[in-house]
């Protein structure tokens, strides 16, 4: 019962996290706050990917053999954590960091041209068109 409750609670909290960060991306005024919300959303997705490979076992060990002969195979199949989500998240974090840096460069450049990071004002200054809500 407790296992099922924690399982569902993690799913619900991930959903709540995604909801709040999407709210921040859509309604946030500052471009920097939009970027922070975007990083929270991407981290939520990465945690969800890790959670997809989750299962109850004790003790849990990394999916690494202790010697090159391949001993302990049966133990590893019963107790190793899922390697596939780890591999996907490993590359996902680095790619996310690079893309975030690209967005940060864009925000800094927009700040230098428009002297503000407010999304609506940046559009107004750069295009000359007034933004109505």
């Amino acid at each position: 019962m407790l296992e099922a409750f924690t399982y569902i609670l993690i799913i619900a909290v991930l959903g709540l996290n995604a909801l709040v960060s999407i709210y921040g991306i859509v309604y946030g005024r500052s471009l920097v706050k939009k970027l922070i919300s975007l990083t929270i959303l991407s981290d939520t997705v990465l945690v969800a990917v890790i959670f997809a490979g989750f299962y109850y076992a004790y003790p849990i060990v990394p999916p690494v053999y202790q010697d090159l002969a391949g001993a302990g195979r049966e133990f590893l199949v019963k107790h190793a954590s899922d390697p596939l989500p780890q591999a996907l998240v490993l590359t996902g974090i680095v790619i996310g960091l690079a893309v975030n840096a690209l967005i940060a460069f864009g925000i800094i450049q927009a700040y230098r041209l428009a002297k503000t990071t407010d999304a609506r004002k940046v559009v107004e200054v750069l295009s000359g068109v007034e933004v109505t809500e």
């Binding site: 019962m1 296992e3 099922a4 409750f5 399982y7 569902i8 609670l9 799913i11 619900a12 909290v13 959903g15 709540l16 909801l19 709040v20 490979g53 989750f54 299962y55 109850y56 076992a57 990394p62 999916p63 690494v64 053999y65 202790q66 010697d67 090159l68 391949g70 195979r73 590893l76 199949v77 019963k78 190793a80 899922d82 390697p83 596939l84 780890q86 591999a87 490993l90 590359t91 974090i93 680095v94 790619i95 960091l97 690079a98 893309v99 840096a101 690209l102 940060a104 460069f105 864009g106 800094i108 450049q109 230098r112 041209l113």
Partner: protein, 245 residues
Amino acid sequence: MSRRIIILILLFTATLIASFTATIILNPATPSELKGLAKYYVLNTINETASPEAVTAIVWDYRGLDTIYETLVLYLAIVGGLAMFKMSEEALLKTRIGLTLLSKTSTKIVALLIASIAAAIVFHGHLSPGGGFPGGSAVAVASMIIIPVFAAGTLIEKGVSSTKLVAIRGAALTALGLVALLPVVKGLEIVTNQRFYPASILGLPISGSLSLYNLFESLAVASGFTAIALYLSIPEEAHKGGSGA
């Protein structure tokens, strides 16, 4: 402001109550064993890739082509960011004053420690948890603490320029592509590991191409993020006085 806090508290309680009722009504069976695909990877990694580490085997062998394209995305993102900035290094040369002697000395020690740990992560990446991406990020952390303490201008005077860093990055990426392409010469598929590369050299287990991929990937990640840190360390005052955007 207070309305926002009330809404947040309501959302939290709603999440708690919803998950509690869902547990009572549905009472789902939680997973208690490894999924089939993961089972295959864990069972066969040591025979098919000569690597006892399943994660590295997936990253560079089972899904090697995916990872090479992801490295390309990383490269394009960094080059795009640097191209957007288009700074001359005159503005950077104005930031020559670093921190005090005390912090400089301690930074030297800490950066050396971080770099040695990063080397361990990279060179053991095919045997223990780690690999090219985390090792390269660790090197980038070392350079990120060096840049503010010693000031970007001093580093550029010593010959560390973003052009050179991007060149290192390009060279590492080319080497990575060559490692992936080399098996084609013998008529094998691209990103072949065990049928082309040896599992060990002079009794040293290198897991075929996996250790080479880790080495070049860490070089690419470290130089790319160091270039980004160098560009982001320009203070706004130096930029205004410099050549302009």
